[in-house]
Amino acid sequence: MNEVKLISRCLKRDKKAWDIFVDKYSKLIYWSIRKRAAASSFELSQDDIDSIFQEVFLSVLENKRLLQLKEEKAITSWMAVISFNKTVDFIRVKIRQGQRLVPDEMIPAASDCRQDSSYKELMAVVKSALATLSPRKRMVLALNLLNNRTHQEIAEMMSISINTVSTIISRAKLELKQELTRQGIKNYERK
């Protein structure tokens, strides 16, 4: 049974088709919920995950959007999107109820940042150097340095060649180095 037919039968409340659909997408949905929560720095309890999980499947039954999709890849992506959105909505409600985000060691809190003027100056230079780059280049840098994406992955995500990605990254670093030097910051040391 192809995906479109499967979805169509699910929306007609065909039990067999629904069971196949649940078996096929439950792992993706479960993974998506946990990943989205982790990316939002929020800790979900098992009950929370269970609730969101059920809501995702419920929204599939109530929303005919999936019928408009023709390819399996598109359906997979859309299922992930629904899971992410339901998780984000759930987290928002929890935050409003007073639940806090998990402190993320990766993100330096404002109070942890060195507040001395030299560091601020340094960040300002980095900011101005990055501002000279095009949005595409900045996006490539962010994907590589912040999200640890390989050149191959970035090329796939942005539909550009690997060579372009490599060139962008190396040039951006070089430009930044030159900008730092121009601003008189020659020997930046990690403390």
């Binding site: 699910c10 409340r13 039990k15 629904w18 069971d19 649940v22 439950s26 993706l28 479960y30 993974w31 998506s32 990943k35 989205r36 990316a39 939002s40 720095s41 269970d50 999980f53 059920q54 499947f57 419920l58 039954l61 890849k73 997979t76 992506s77 859309w78 992930a80 999107v81 992410f84 985000l101 993320d104 990766m106 993100i107 330096p108 940042c113 340094l122 960040m123 980095v126 949005p135 900045r138 996006m139 840098l141 962010a142 994907l143 340095l145 912040l146 999200n147 994406r149 992955e153 796939e156 995500m157 942005m158 539909s159 951006a172 670093k173 930044l176 730092l180 930046y188 040391e189 990690r190």
Partner: protein
Amino acid sequence: MNNTEDLIKQYLKQNLGSSDKTPFCLSDDILLGFLHNDLAEADIERAEKHICGCGFCLSQLNLLFEAQKKPKEEDTQVPDYLIKKAKGMVKDKEKIKKRRIKKVFYLIFAILSFILSFFIPRYFMQFLVLTLILGLAWVFESEGGRTLIMVLDSWRRHSHDDDDEISRRLKDRFKTPHK
């Protein structure tokens, strides 16, 4: 990682590391279109301009990219009870149909049995008992009957410590004041 990379990373973490969704964030259609290379050139540029400065959309794009690959097995052990519950959202139509037929059967024969009890006085009591049995079967087949059983069961299990106090208060409420 060298110092330059470290600097850029620190800056990016501070500005894009964690971000909530805003009203300006890209729609799901645009993000998916970007990922699948389905957008017009102008839309791609607009999307890149937004994503490079939005932590939420950047993380969303990353997650969507990862979701397209098969999630790793160790990350995705879905509890069986969850899958069972999800499957239970769609009821078996055949079973529902059979249940409905059964309900109608009980009701019709209960009524028939009641009518027959008047036409065949010799078996009046037998037909009445049969009516009662079929009537009860009809009640318990319905959703209302099951709810009633659940409520009674729950009441039976709860603590009866306050029952005397509740009954005393009810009696006091209905007592007429003496003149």
